[in-house]
């Protein structure tokens, strides 16, 4: 079926967006078809979220224009976009934790009476209506900061619903949801579509996309590399375009591991979850496993499964409620990350910007940050050691004295790995090792980790991507709601098995073959 011009409701033409060090979007043409679920697919760092932020007015393109229903529009702010009927539910859910649901749903567009006084009654009424339409009635007086991630998403959806959006952008809406919540979301999407709303849907979960999508667009490294209607799309079609490889087979042969001596043994690790306003922590329940010499262990799980919490416990950043850690039969008592480092346990955190880099410092200073011993800094030694690591890890840095922020995401990540290597790691923990990293650097980081494992270091990483887990791990543990649900050796791993084990409840709509129930 060929689309007519008039079917295009929103048309992004030749959009270019540059960030320091990288081009996030390179002359991207993105067409959104009326009353369809328009799927945008791409790996992490492909530029999906940037493109969506531009469509939602949260960011401005360096070049290119936007056309809505045949006329050009300029979006300077999210408010502009909302005026044009474009609404977005962001990937990082953006609730105002200190306000209640009704306040959140109407934030920035309050209903007023007598021009200045907030009309709480009407706001509460309309909030309840919107929540009811989403079949998620909640108390509108509850504070948003106390809600689960799934419920926060519902609040954001209610907000867009009340705005009567023409185009609704959902940026990885299910990454934080349990299966039951995801199913609710899918039925809501079906309803919205039939009531005339155009959906733009971003995800890298293939099953979900094949189930929901009508029109598919694939983005890779800031360029559009494929566009097709549902009928022409298969799983292989997507994977090939996303990865840029003809076949999705394993890129590298792996030796058999797991016969080496146990490096680190975790037994009965348990952590009470918290729901603090700033820091939400998923609980961990009785987690036990071990990491062997020279082994790469992957922990696969969805958002909120407790991946980050687990690594933070092991690194000594969070103290578990109970459980023990043994290193070569010696009990470890980690009171702080410094104790972890003393035991040779190093963490490369998930959020580079927040927990990893010191943006004001140079590449050299960032790499040598924790390595300074003795009373004085030795600039010469630092430079020599950093330079060697930069060469070994192939970090694209012309000058070590440039600020770390001049590097691309991939190179920043490698610099953080270099920081760990400057110590003497026995166990290297990586939380989402390739988040926000382009495809080329991704492959390189995998190679680096393999090389480190071959040198006898135990590598433990977490990932929310099946493909990454399958590509990198010698052994995969699947974490779901704080406990380990399954363990796979390399030969046993399949997409379906990993995904099924990671889903909180038995998946039923997420089979890739299910038909057009909401079409």
């Amino acid at each position: 079926m060929k689309h007519l011009r008039e079917d295009i409701i929103l048309d992004a033409r030749a959009i270019t967006r540059r960030y320091p060090g990288t081009i996030a979007l390179n002359r991207v043409d993105f067409r959104v078809y009326r009353q369809q679920v328009n799927v945008l697919i791409g790996e992490n760092g492909a530029g999906k979220s940037t493109l969506m932020r531009i469509l939602a007015g949260a960011e401005n393109p360096d070049e290119g224009e936007l056309w809505l229903e045949g006329s050009p529009i300029v979006l300077r702010s999210p408010r502009d976009a909302a005026k044009h009927g474009i609404a977005i539910v962001h990937q990082e859910l953006s609730v105002l934790p200190n306000l209640d649901l009704a306040d959140n749903i109407f934030a920035g567009r309050e209903e007023v009476q007598a021009k200045i006084i907030v009309d709480r009654k009407r706001e509460e009424q309309r909030s309840m209506d919107a929540l009811r339409r989403l079949r998620k009635p909640m108390n509108v007086h509850n504070q948003a900061g106390h809600l689960s991630l799934g419920a926060r998403q519902v609040v954001e959806l209610a907000r867009t619903l009340d705005q009567k959006a023409k185009v609704l952008i959902l940026d990885e809406p299910t990454s934080a949801l349990s299966n039951a919540e995801a199913e609710t979301l899918f039925s809501v999407i079906g309803e919205l579509k039939s009531s005339g709303v155009t959906i733009v849907y971003i995800s890298h979960r293939l099953n979900e996309l094949l189930h929901l999508g009508n029109h598919f667009t694939v983005l890779r490294s800031g360029r559009i590399v494929g566009e097709a209607q549902r009928a022409a799309v298969t799983r292989q079609w997507i994977v090939e375009r996303m990865s840029g490889r003809k076949d999705a087979e394993r890129a590298m042969p792996h030796g058999e591991f797991g016969n080496g001596a146990v490096l680190l043994r975790i037994e009965g690790l348990t952590l009470a979850g918290t729901a603090d306003e700033q820091m939400e922590k998923a609980p961990l329940r009785d987690v036990s496993f071990s990491v062997h010499h020279g082994e790469i262990v992957g922990i696969y799980g969805l958002l909120g499964a407790g991946r980050t919490e687990l690594l933070e416990c092991i690194a000594g950043r969070t103290r578990p409620t109970s459980g023990v850690m043994l290193q070569s039969d010696v009990l470890l008592h980690l009171k702080s990350p410094a104790d972890g480092v003393k035991a040779g346990i190093y963490l490369v955190p998930e959020d580079r910007q927040r927990d990893g880099l010191i943006p004001e410092l140079s590449i050299r200073e960032n790499i040598a940050l924790a390595a300074a011993n003795g009373r004085f800094l030795d600039r010469k030694k630092e430079t020599a050691a950093s330079r060697q690591l930069v060469r070994e890890l192939n970090i694209a840095a012309t000058d070590l004295e440039l600020p770390i922020t001049a590097l691309s995401g991939g190179n920043q990540q490698k610099a953080l790995i270099a920081r760990c290597l400057l110590g003497s790691p026995r166990v290297l923990l990586l939380d989402e090792p390739t988040r926000g990293v382009d495809v080329g650097a991704k492959a390189e980081i995998y190679r680096i980790l393999r090389r480190l494992a071959a040198q006898g270091i135990g590598v433990l990483f977490t990932s929310s991507e099946i493909e990454e887990t399958m590509e990198l791990a010698d052994r995969a543990l699947v974490l779901c709601q704080g406990s380990i649900r399954a363990e796979f050796r390399r030969a046993e791993m399949t997409d379906e098995a990993l995904f099924a084990a990671a889903s909180p409840s038995a998946p039923n709509v997420l089979r890739s073959d299910s038909g057009g129930a909401f079409a």
Binding site: S77, N98, E110, V118, R159, T274
Partner: protein, 361 residues
């Protein structure tokens, strides 16, 4: 399995009630402290509750309360305004200048009437607030630094106006048509000093704005999660600018009140007032991280500081010990604030179980 054993849900409910009680006391701490101080001082100093003393006390409280009301909005957005004391000093001097020197326009001497003088002084104060707001929201200067800078600039300007001298006799001359300035600080209306009424009026406005208007909600939103607020379409820079403007207007009013009470404008007026205002805000339970707190809390905080200061004076406690005691109270208040957050986070699941409105602000 005896019937006398309370069921699990009963135990939980009992525990939840106890946690709520503890939380309530922790949250109402400023009020608890205030009542305790009043009881203590009335016992130790019998004349504490005399009408005369209460009137003086109310005037003292009004000064820091007015500053605290404006400051609350700034702090709710996650900012701070250190310039309020200097702004109070500057506006007093500006008013003093116009009242005593008049204005020379194209060679002719004019003596603007009192209301014009007041308006001009407040306008100068607002200008400083505007500068604060622009520095913070447009130039991206940290609020602490931006307002520290304007603290010095405004104080310097106040000294420059008179070359460091005091403007005496602000009562004006009937011949020059500029009498009546002292009414602002010295009149009594229905038995209460006018500054106290001014404070109550500003308090009413502050409470209404913070709780009933979109702007008030935006202030909380910006302090709660600035990024999310921006994505929700809230004009974050404008919200911040308005909070600094409001804080400066309050400071300007304080400056005018003091100048009117003394019938003189002294360039050092208002030194370290900002610290009292911040202390009142923090005592009242407003988080310096923003997003949490209330105008009414700040009023109670100002009362605590005022009662403490005047009570200690009446008891003849040395000025040096007064400072030690005030500091201790402030530090304790913030420590309790932290404790409250921890208790709340820890028992949140328990509190949410029953009564869905259990979530506390």
């Amino acid at each position: 399995m005896t019937t006398a054993m309370p069921s699990l849900s009963q135990v939980m409910r009992f525990k939840a009630t106890r946690v709520r009680t503890v939380l309530f006391v922790l949250k109402a701490r400023a009020m608890v402290v205030l009542v305790a101080l009043l009881v203590l001082f009335s016992y130790l100093a019998p004349s504490f509750f005399s009408a005369n003393n209460l009137s003086i006390l109310a005037k003292h409280i009004a000064i820091s309360a007015i500053l605290a009301i404006g400051m609350t909005f700034v702090v709710l957005t996650g900012g701070i305004d250190l310039s309020v004391g200097s702004v109070a000093g500057l506006t007093g001097m500006v008013a003093g200048y116009f009242l005593t020197q008049g204005i020379v326009i194209v060679g002719a001497q004019h003596d603007p009437p009192v209301l014009i003088c007041i308006a001009l002084s407040i306008a100068i104060g607002m200008f400083v607030g505007l500068v604060n707001g622009l520095l913070v929201s447009k130039a991206g200067v940290a609020p602490f630094i931006a307002t520290l800078g304007t603290l010095y600039i405004a104080r310097g300007a106040a000294l420059l106006i008179s070359n460091g001298k005091t403007f005496p006799n602000l009562a004006g001359h009937a011949a020059r048509g500029n009498t009546g300035f002292q009414a602002l600080g010295q009149t009594f209306v229905a038995g209460l000093p006018l500054p106290v009424w001014t404070m109550l009026l500003l308090f009413g406005i502050g409470v209404t704005i913070s709780r009933k208007t979109p702007f008030g909600r935006h202030v909380y939103a910006v302090g709660g999660n600035e990024r999310a607020a921006r994505l929700a379409g809230i004009p974050v820079p404008a919200v911040k600018i308005f909070t600094y403007l409001g804080s400066s207007v309050c400071a300007a009013i304080v400056g005018l009140i003091i100048a009117s009470q003394l019938e003189a404008a002294h360039p050092a007026t208002g030194e370290s007032f900002e610290l009292n205002a911040i202390a009142a805000v923090v005592l009242g339970g407003t988080s310096l991280m923003g997003g949490r707190g209330s105008v009414s809390g700040s009023l109670i905080g100002a009362c605590v500081i005022g009662v403490l200061a005047d009570g200690l004076v009446m008891l003849g406690v040395s000025e040096f010990w007064q400072m030690v005691i005030k500091g201790t109270v402030i530090v304790l208040a913030v420590a309790i604030d932290q404790m409250q957050s921890r208790v709340q986070a820890r028992f949140l699941p328990l509190l949410l179980q029953r009564g869905e409105r259990g979530g506390a602000a």
